[in-house]
Structures are given as C-alpha cells and as structure tokens.
Symmetry: C2
Subunit: 271 residues, 2 copies
C-alpha cells in the first residue's frame, strides 16, 4: 500500500492549494528582488549565493511555519526545522543561482511537501518565464493551471532526434569525476539542451523535453520532481547516489517519457 | 579604410531605426502566431519548418521591399532578391525552429543589413523573452534600448568557471563528424549552457555569457552577430568554413569577451 493513502484527500487538496499560494507569493518577491537588486557572494565551494536566496527562503519558511507549525522544513540555506515531523516541506528558493545573477531567465524556485519520505505536492516555478508546473498526489500535474499528460515515445523512434535536457559537464565533475558519463550521454543524445537548473525538470513534466537528466543534486533540487513527473504520466528514477563530505547525500536522476527514461537508465547502468 | 565609412551617418541611423521597426512588427506577428497556432513540417534534411517561419519571412521581405526597393534580401526560406545590390538584408525569421515548435522561449528572430559584405545593422530579437539586442556601425550596441559595453576577462581567471554557451553536439556532427571538437570544448569549459539558437549570441552581446560558440551555420544564422559583438566591445571570429552540398557555405564562429575568444580560437586551432 502507498503510505500516502493515509492522508485524507481533502488534506492533500489543502496542502496543494497552500503550496500554490506560497509559490505565487515567492514569485512576486523574486521578481521584486530582480528589480531592486541583491548582493552576490560565493560560498566556500565557490558556488553563488545571493541575499535573494536567503530572503526568499526566510519568507517561505515564515509562511509555512504560520500555516503548518508542526510540519518540518528543509531548505538549502538554513538548518532544518522539526526534522522528525512526518510532513516535511523541502525547498530550493532559487535554483540556478548563477543564472539568476546573470538574469538568465531559466532559474527556478522549488517547493515540495513530502510525507514520510514520499512526495505529496510539488511545484517548480520560473518567475522570469511565467512558467509554473504543479502536481499533488492523485490530483494530476499542471502547467500554468492546465492539466498535462505525457505521451510516451516509441522506443524505435529513439534515433538521436529525441530531446534530452542535461546539466552542464561541471555537474558531472564537481564532486567526483564522472565526466565520461556526460560524454556518453551527449554522444547518445546529440539533440540536447543544457541548463543548470530545474528548468530541465519542468520541461520534462510538460513534454517540452522528452526527458531530463540531473546529476550530483542534494534532495532539495529534485524534491518536487518525482510527484510532478509521475502525476504527468512519466517515469522518475534515481540512478545514482553517494555521500559528499560537508554536503551530505547527492543523487543522479532521470525523468520523463518512460521509453526514453528506460533507455537512459540502461545507459547509466552500462557505466 | 573601412568600406562602411562610405555610408553617410544619417543613412546608417535611418537603416537602424527602420530595422528596429521591422523587428518590432515581426515580434508582434510571431507572438500572434504562437497564440493562433501554425503548421509544422520536416524539411528534406529532417529539420523543422513551420508555416510561421514562412509567414514571418514573407512579412519582413514585404516591409523591406516597400522601404528599400533597390536593396537585396537573403533569407533562409525563399530565394534571394537583388543578389548583386551593395546593400543586403539578411534574415532568419525564426532561428531555433524546433524550440519554437516546443514553445521553448529561447528561439529568436535574426535581421541584419550588410554593405558590400560588411555588417552595418544587426538585431536579434527573442519575442517570448522580451529580449532584443541591436547595434549599428558606429552607433553602439543595445539591450532592450539600453547601451551595453562588455568588460574583458583576465586571462588568468579562465579556470573553468567562465560561462561559455554552445550549440548541441548535433551541430558538430550534422554535416561532418567534428564531435571531438565539441567534446574538447565542453571539457575545457565545463560551466557551459547549450541552446540551439541565436540566444547564445545575444547573451554574448549582453555579457550574460562570457562567450558563445556556434558551428555549421549558414550566413543568416550569424549575419547580425559580428556588428552586435563588435559594437559592444567584444570580438567576433570565424574559425571554420566549408561547403555543404545543397546548402552552400557554412561556418563556425566564436564571439564574446576578447580574452576568452582568443582562448577558444586557440582551442579550435589545436584540432
């Protein structure tokens, strides 16, 4: 039995509708920070962090605490709240911070609710693109409010024209050198697009990409993705996981149209 | 002496202002076609063409003919007009047609005016992103009407964090197998982004990318790019050219901040 069936349906509806409200508010804040400006710093691992990342996470944490004081909160920029609670809100307030700093519009804002480790609600919002995907367990997946349902590919049509979105080679060499895996994937799927953000996951949900691959991500980077993909009729697979000192567990993931996900999972298995 | 100095300054201003008008009108048409819908077909080489590509090129050709009847016109979808005229308008009405078909917002619209082979006016417009870069000889480069000036990189800072935008590996194997060149570039510059459109060129003009590389392009794909990059204070270099039967001459190009362009040109030379 799926443990999520323990949650009353009207609670799932309420969590979904509140998560949407939080996402709408966070988008307004992000757009206002893009206009007013923000401070940019480097973290010890040389990645970017801005005063906007911190401000948006504080804001979302405050909204969640006010509405769901007994739920846990896990985010990129602050320590966990209520880490043993069955319900956990997981967020990356600005994913693709370097793109955000450069005003490249593909950065996104990630928000998810998990119940005992299983995803219940997922949202990926792209404020600069006016593109939001949302889903909740049993309630379907949506792109700007319109229902989305993926159509699978014919495995025989996987001839190199399939549209695969990947992260940069940098992601495959950041924590350990898996660069050859990147090289094999771009050889097998030369009609790729490469972004460093959850925009790739969102495009796999809508079908604008046939599949997305991500690599070396902490849980907040993909916390919303499995429920989104599964509710859209696609497939989500964690293909790798390992520990990174001072960061914790990171993962590789494949998501999208099932026939292509199966092919990509095989390609991971072969390396 | 630069042959473009033969053109009276007020003529350059007039061409620039007309080109901007044409681009504004083309954007409106493209956005209305995105809403109303369009037909999608495959060309003999399996690339996409839509009724929107044809409609926008017809529209731009008509505008140019009306204002500059003795100028030439060269575009992707129709035969050349006045091929021997000293002034040539060169266009790709929708660059990144596959992305346009998928409603990925990075597709662009390219329009340039050349005089005896030298670029005088260049525009790259991204209707879905509200992002237009424009430049004219001696008049500077602009991003949504604001002047842009690139700051060069310190060559010592080229440590793999520099932001390089590339086309997909598909571009490097479409006409002949230069896939190893792609592999070498993504190894040398792992913090890349990959798009299949002139969006990469536009980001090199604004500095949102430190440099852009393109490969296997007919002239209309980069006709606007050299004047844009040079007027922004950057460097544009054609690094490769060869003939493709039934298509004609295609090129490889590198553009952006001079120190990084020099490095990339060296990397092309080494292969």
């Amino acid at each position: 039995m799926d443990i999520r069936n323990e949650i009353p349906a009207r609670d799932i509806e309420r969590y979904f509708s509140k998560a949407l409200e939080f996402s709408v508010s966070a988008r307004s804040l992000i757009l206002s920070l893009l206009t007013s400006g923000f401070e940019v710093k480097r973290k010890p691992d040389n990645s970017f962090v801005t005063s906007a990342d911190l401000r948006v996470e504080e804001y979302l944490r405050e909204l969640i605490r006010r509405h769901f004081p007994d739920h846990g909160i896990l985010g990129e920029e602050y320590p966990p709240t209520n880490p043993d609670a069955p319900f956990q809100w997981i967020m990356d307030p600005i994913d693709g911070t370097e793109d955000f700093v450069q005003r490249l519009p593909t950065f996104g804002s990630i928000l998810a609710l998990h119940y005992r480790g299983e995803p219940v609600v997922g949202l990926l919002d792209h404020p600069a693109l006016d593109m939001r995907v949302s889903a909740a367990y049993g309630l379907g997946a949506y792109h700007n409010g319109r229902h989305v349902a993926l159509t699978d590919l014919d495995p025989a049509a996987l001839d190199g024209t399939e549209r695969v979105m990947l992260p940069a080679r940098a992601n495959f060499i950041k924590y350990r050198d898996d660069g050859r895996l990147f090289d094999a994937l771009v050889r097998a799927h030369p009609n790729h697009r490469i972004y460093r953000s959850c925009f790739t996951h969102a495009c796999a949900v809508t079908g604008q990409a046939d599949a997305a691959v991500d690599y070396g991500n902490p849980i907040w980077d993909f916390a919303a993705s499995r429920i989104l993909i599964e509710e859209a009729g696609g497939k989500f697979v964690l293909v790798r996981e390992w520990n990174v000192p001072s960061l914790g567990r990171v993962y590789g993931s494949v998501m999208g149209k099932p026939a292509l996900v199966d092919r990509l999972v095989d390609e991971f298995g072969a390396r």
